[in-house]
Amino acid sequence: MRCGHGVGEATRGAYNTVKQTAEDLYADILPAVEATVDALDKFNAAFTHITALTINTTNLLRECDVDNPVDPRHEMAEGLEDAEKSLRDGVEILRQKRGVAESDHKLLGDNERRVISAYERAIVTLSGLHDAVVDFRWVIMEHDADIERAEGDVMYSPEDVIRSALG
């Protein structure tokens, strides 16, 4: 096939379009990478602070003697259980987003490493906060059990225990 007039121009046009698109993409990607990494780093800083607060309070409650229950109506334990569920969901969302970043063909080289690394830091931070909340809830629960006395009859079988507890 002979190339007619205009093929050179068409080729040049297509080349320009592809090149410009790639350049624009790169220009768009860079700020997006910066924004993602910045947002995740801010997220990490905030949640690291909350984790430290949770751990400090847990240790305080472990070490001190308090005469009164801190959660007699189980409201805090239930609220913390809800928080744990939200944090587990959050970790799952971050894992999915990390997966999307890994398979994103526009993210290459250093940009890809930075974004994935930021997601991994966020996953570790949020998982750590989750586990700190679990420990916090259990320390509250055990603390309140410490100041209670056993009640009721002695029971000789698991069935009796369940019957008594549900009765």
């Binding site: 059990a145 225990v161 369940i162 549900l166």
Partner: protein, 92 residues
């Protein structure tokens, strides 16, 4: 690890334990019943029997995501708490 001298033949309950049981799903209550039965015999390693640091409180797994805590008074297990415990990095 389960101490060789451990022999539980009876149970007592603390008020919080009773409240905790009332909040459990029927399936978890069945799991709890099985865990209590294991406590009266040979506790399998999968129960992750543990003594909590700096305390006289022991714990075992009721199921993958639930834990039971108790104290010992001779052969009586005084049941303290039962509830969910699901962690990403579980040292327990």
């Amino acid at each position: 690890m389960v101490p060789p001298s451990l022999k539980i033949t009876r149970f007592k309950e603390k008020p919080s334990f009773r409240k905790d049981v009332k909040r459990l799903d029927p399936k978890v209550i069945k799991d709890l019943e099985r865990a209590l039965r294991d406590l009266m015999g040979e506790v399998p390693p999968g129960r992750k029997f543990k003594k909590l640091k700096d305390s006289d409180v022991y714990t075992i797994r009721v199921s993958l995501n639930y834990r039971l805590s108790f104290e010992l008074d001779g052969d009586i297990a005084i049941l303290r708490r039962v509830g969910p415990r699901q962690k990403f990095y579980d040292s327990y």
